[in-house]
Amino acid sequence: MPEAVPPAPAAILAAMPITLTINGRERRLSVEPWVTLLDLLREREDLTGTKKGCDHGQCGACTVLVDGRRINSCLKLAVSLDGASITTIEGLADGSRLDPLQQAFMDHDAFQCGYCTPGQICSAKGLLNENQAPTRQEVQELMSGNLCRCGAYTNIVDAIMEVLEARGEARAASAEAAR
């Protein structure tokens, strides 16, 4: 049997229709395949809270939640997320009531210039969703995907520990960090 002839290449410059739920709002968008989620959020949706630090997965400034899981939005093509639900820093507060992480970051001075902060907070949100980091040491390791040029690390961990404690999920010391 002759091999099936591959279908003609889709016209290359065509934008594709996708649907994303961004911070709870359903958005029907037309997006070229090479647009990253980060560029879509910042340039087309005007959600500039999410930052571009390195654009190569090396800093974590672009961290957002996709279906509740934290990823680097700079390395994700928007078209590959069709149907997904995205949460950015703009979507964390409930009206004027800040997310407990946002409040804790303020209470603990967990930033200086603030550039890494949206990524830090979204990453911390993802960390809480993962339910894997009850100790300070584990929080440190599992926040290592977010760099801070200002070196606010100690206060960032303090802020996250406070939220964990408020949720009753913190453990004092890593008795035996098995992993």
Binding site: P9, I12, D55, G145
Partner: protein, 337 residues
């Protein structure tokens, strides 16, 4: 990024058909491919998104093994209760790599197929036989701190950067692939290759073939194993040298030893002689040193990376000690156990 067409097939046959176009590439988590496309190192004309093929399950195999779907994420794999219990070495190696965000996106198939982190490979303005065959190798005689000490060639001294693959090598995994010529299985040790004079080929996958799963055999090394990774900072950095060890102990004696090195060669490095030399031996400083000698036989530095030889020797001995004692390296507590 250069323009490309994008398709999102939902069946494997459709994905195989879609990728045969010249310049077609599979897109999994995108954490390596998109990065390289931004650098114009990869310039696919057609991307085939393989995330909706239903290949993301982790399933028990009859007889006690485990099948890891190629599209299961690194995070889901490391956190899977069966992986954590039966293959803790694999979970540990995955958790030693990249960052939580990257592991949430990165897939098992993508991890196997990730490209080298050689600086010259990433820099389109320099000579690189892997990126542009025949142009030469910028790293030989250049900046080569991260490069290979074993198995390198006059064409290429790059290393394979994966942590997960070092554990898979020790666990004798099998790679399941499907392609235009049908399905086949590749023993892990035959998947990645040495550069020789064709460094553009990282592995033995044929053009157009898709990795569908990674099978782990029904073997239990959970009592004596370790993944020890040494790097320039404690987290979120590639290995300079890493060591995966799995031992079967009978009392104080080693009944079976498996050791693989990461960060030192174009593929995870195993040496049957070194493993055999440990079989039947007591777990002792002498037997460990002998194994390290055999693993590093023929090791050669390139200048900046000469330190890796001594570092690897010490890391091998330390990892063997950790595994024999049943005290695997924690990936959270950064003190070397």
């Amino acid at each position: 990024m250069n323009p490309f067409s994008f398709t999102r097939p939902t069946t494997v046959p459709d994905a195989l058909r879609a990728v045969v176009r010249p310049g077609g590439r599979f897109l999994a988590g995108g954490t390596n491919l998109i990065d390289l496309m931004k650098e114009n190192v990869e310039r696919p004309s057609a991307l085939v998104d393989i995330n909706r093929l239903g290949l993301d399950a982790i399933e028990d195999l009859p007889g006690g093994g485990l099948r890891l779907g190629a599209l299961a994420t690194n995070a889901d794999t490391a956190r899977d209760a069966r992986v954590a219990k039966r293959y803790p070495l694999l979970a540990s190696a995955i958790l030693a790599g990249a960052s939580p965000q990257l592991r949430n996106a990165a897939t098992n198939g993508g991890n196997l197929n990730q490209r080298t982190r050689c600086y010259y490979f990433y820099d389109n303005t320099t000579a690189c036989n892997k990126r542009n065959p025949g142009t030469g190798c910028g790293a030989i005689g250049g900046v080569n701190r991260i490069h290979a000490i074993l198995g390198a060639s006059a064409s290429c001294i790059a290393t394979h950067p994966s942590d997960m693959c070092v554990a898979l090598a020790v666990l004798n995994a099998t790679i399941r692939v499907t392609g235009p010529q049908g399905e086949r299985e590749i023993p892990f040790g035959e998947y990645h290759r040495l550069p020789g004079d064709t460094p553009q080929r990282d592995n033995t996958l044929h053009p157009g073939e898709l990795v569908t799963a990674i099978d782990l055999p029904a073997e239990d090394f959970s009592a004596h194993h370790t993944y020890l990774k040494l790097r320039d900072r404690l987290s979120y950095a590639f290995a300079l040298v890493s060591v995966a060890v799995a031992l079967r102990m009978e009392g104080d004696r080693i009944a079976e030893a498996r050791i693989a090195l990461g960060g030192v060669a174009h593929k995870p490095w195993r040496v049957p002689d070194a493993e055999q030399a440990l079989a039947g031996q007591p777990a002792s400083a002498e037997s460990f040193a002998r194994a390290a000698d055999l693993l590093l036989r023929g090791a050669q530095g390139q200048g900046h990376n000469d330190f890796k030889i001594g570092l690897a020797h010490r890391a091998i001995r330390r990892a063997l000690r950790q595994a024999a004692a049943g005290t695997p390296q924690s990936q959270t507590d950064k003190r070397v156990a």
